[in-house]
């Protein structure tokens, strides 16, 4: 009884894997033409994106196993929700590939391996969003993680990169181990690892208590770890700071999206019956996550670390729709927010990369950036506003509205209020950053307008190496996307549904 394979359903991750292998081989074959690997991987992502878009609007499942007695269940399901996750992940992956472009082309990082690892990890992320049994899910999660470890440590001569990789690795594998323990307990309690049977077993009350409860909690640990939910958030700042900035961006978006997708599947498909229990659990986690994230960011001066903490806080917001019960509308809200977050967060990381390319990493180094480099600084400012959820970053605001709406519709008024307070706390540091960006140089305050511009150029003189075109490109398209979405926020939702 060999399983039938629906190739259309697995085409996007498959194209990523193929592109990954091709990139590796191409780079091995023509090591001097470093740009090849990037082109291959970009092509792979675009092809995957094409498959995803063309395969929308029809649910496909494959890798099914039937045994007569039990209802048919499948390991792989591609429906609207999955497609939307794929869309988000693939867009983000494409952006990350572009962000890595220069590092690969310049030889700073090994091109073939780099692109291979990114695409392999992304393929895992895609698989997470489609997985319908815990084994596939777990393996897919590991497919996301393992290449990511290597990516974080890719700058081998860098002490901080190595340290970051080790920390990321250790915390991650412990989380995975806990998750595995949880899976084993769910399996023990229900006798299955597939969504349908597990859910049926729980619904019929046959699942063994309290093993199923403990198993449920432990199962989501690795997912929570990916999402960076409290108490699994501690690795985030250290890892992001130590990793190459595009990789940090990858972790903050694609890896996080994989965690959210997995979490959605586990909670909604497997544990729907326990919605009351886990909704409180996720709600508390969301509240803690956003609070800790915002507090952690409050006094940061290091750009990437600030963005890291901010991504923890954003993870808290992202958890809210799940806490609200993970109904289809909630998932829509979650994905809309995730898409918004993916776009603007990568803008921010791209800008951070640009700043880092001048050898700067401190907030104070960004003084007046929006004036001296309107393109980079302005985009960063806009991204911060979107993250803060304040107009003119309307897209961020609308996404937050969707989050709030989930909470309110799910009768989680308390959580909505906490989100509100956190949005306000978050403002403090986003605005501090923003203020630095637009701050005129000291001379501008004293002198008449127009004179200051020259002094600012001096301020940046000597460090003003050209920003790589790929980085500028990423900044440009993400900014354009954010602006367009701000004017027509409806597109945000139509993109994912």
């Amino acid at each position: 009884m060999t399983q039938a394979v629906d190739w259309v359903a697995i085409a996007p991750p498959l194209s990523l894997v193929i592109a990954a292998l091709t990139a590796l081989l191409v780079d091995a074959a023509w090591p001097r033409v470093r740009v090849l690997a990037g082109l291959v991987s970009l092509t792979g992502v675009v092809v995957a994106l094409g498959f995803t878009m063309s395969g929308r609007n029809e649910a496909r499942s494959t890798f099914c196993f039937a045994d007569g007695e039990l209802p048919t269940s499948c390991s792989w399901l591609v429906d609207d929700v999955t497609s939307a996750w794929w869309l988000i992940m693939l867009i983000a992956t494409a952006l990350v590939v572009l962000l890595l472009w220069t590092a690969a082309v310049s030889g700073e990082l090994p091109a073939g391996e780099l692109h291979f690892l990114v695409l392999a990890s992304a393929a895992g992320a895609l698989a997470v969003a489609a997985a319908q049994d815990l084994i596939t899910l777990l393996v897919a999660m590991e497919t996301v993680s393992l290449p990511a470890f290597a990516l974080v440590g890719l700058r081998r001569v860098d002490r901080r990169g190595a340290e970051a990789a080790l920390k990321f690795f250790i915390t991650s594998v412990v989380a995975t181990a806990l998750s595995l323990l949880g899976i084993s307990m769910v399996y023990g309690a229900t006798g299955s690892v597939a969504a349908g049977p597990v859910a049926a077993s729980i619904a019929s009350g046959n699942a063994v208590t309290p093993v199923i409860g403990v198993g449920m909690v432990l199962t989501v640990v690795a997912l929570g770890f990916k999402v960076a939910a409290v108490p699994f958030q501690a690795w985030v700042p250290d890892t992001y700071v130590g990793a190459p900035i595009p990789v940090a961006g990858y972790l903050s978006v694609v890896s996080k999206a994989a965690g959210l997708a997995g979490l959605t599947i586990v909670l909604v498909r497997f544990l729907a019956t326990y919605v009351d229990t886990w909704s409180t659990m996720v709600g508390v986690a969301a509240a803690l996550t956003m609070t800790v994230g915002n507090l952690g960011a409050l006094r940061q001066r290091h750009i990437v670390r600030l963005l890291a903490w901010s991504s923890v806080a954003q993870a808290g917001y992202l958890l809210v729709p799940l806490a609200a019960g993970g109904l289809p509308e909630d998932v829509t809200a979650l994905q809309a927010y995730a898409l918004m977050y993916a776009v603007v967060n990568l803008t921010a990381f791209a800008a951070a990369l640009a700043v880092a390319s001048w050898g700067k990493s401190d907030l104070a180094d960004c003084m007046g950036l929006a004036r001296s480099h309107p393109w980079i600084g302005g985009s960063l400012a806009f991204a911060l506003l979107c993250l803060a959820g304040l107009p003119p970053g309307v897209v961020g605001l609308v996404a937050k509205v969707a989050i709030f709406r989930s909470a309110v519709d799910g009768d989680l008024i308390w959580l909505a209020v906490i989100v509100g307070v956190n949005v306000a706390i978050g403002l403090v540091y986003y605005l501090r950053f923003l203020a630095v960006l637009v701050q005129p140089a000291a001379s501008d305050v004293a002198g008449p307008a127009g004179v200051g511009a020259h002094d600012e150029d001096d301020h940046w003189a000597g460090l003003d190496r050209a920003v790589p075109w790929s980085t500028e490109f990423v900044v440009g398209i993400t900014l354009a996307a954010a602006v367009v979405l701000s004017v027509f926020p409806g597109l945000l939702f139509s993109a994912i549904s």
Partner: protein, 171 residues
């Protein structure tokens, strides 16, 4: 108590005991060796639970490959061969509490959930290489393929991390 049960208890005690030594030994190499004992005892457990194929894979991969890797790593990091006094961090007490708490939680929930439940082993050939192979390629193709990606990625990752490049060599 049947023979199988007695054997299982013995194997279990062996596994736990050697694991404890892994946890407490002050000699790095000893730790690795005690780990081998634990893994071996567990392989025995698998056998007793009729998971034949898993047991052999355990022996081959874990005892054969992983432990060797660990020993190599110990050597490459120039780990001292003898006793190392400060092998434990200041976190010991917390770690002990965490470990005990974990065990306690698990035991309590297992006892509450499975008290009096018995396994009947050996009725069918569930754990045989053939059966497992058939299910893997019959029902679990997808994760299997994914695992191959994982392994490849790990391989590439390990290589890319370990490879010395020209620039570094020049340093």
């Amino acid at each position: 108590m049947t023979t199988v049960e007695v054997l299982f208890v013995l194997m279990g005690v062996l596994a736990v005991g050697s694991a404890l030594l892994v946890a407490l030994s002050t000699n790095l190499v000893h730790c690795a060796l005690w780990l081998v004992v634990t893994l071996g005892a567990l392989a025995g457990c698998y056998l007793l639970l009729a998971a034949e194929f898993v047991a052999w894979v355990q022996v081959l991969i874990y005892m054969g490959a992983v432990v060797v890797l660990l020993l190599f790593a110990l050597m490459l990091t120039r780990a001292p061969i003898g006793r190392v006094p400060d092998l434990d961090g200041p976190n010991r007490v917390v770690a002990a509490i965490a470990g005990l708490a974990t065990t306690a939680m698990l035991v309590v929930s297992f006892v509450a959930g499975f008290r009096g439940t018995r396994i009947t082993v050996g009725a069918d050939d569930i754990g045989s290489t053939h059966a497992v192979g058939a299910t893997i390629f019959g029902s679990w193709v997808l994760p299997f393929e994914l695992v191959s990606v994982v392994l490849l990625a790990a391989l590439v990752g390990a290589i890319v991390l370990s490879r010395r490049r020209a620039a570094e060599v020049a340093d």
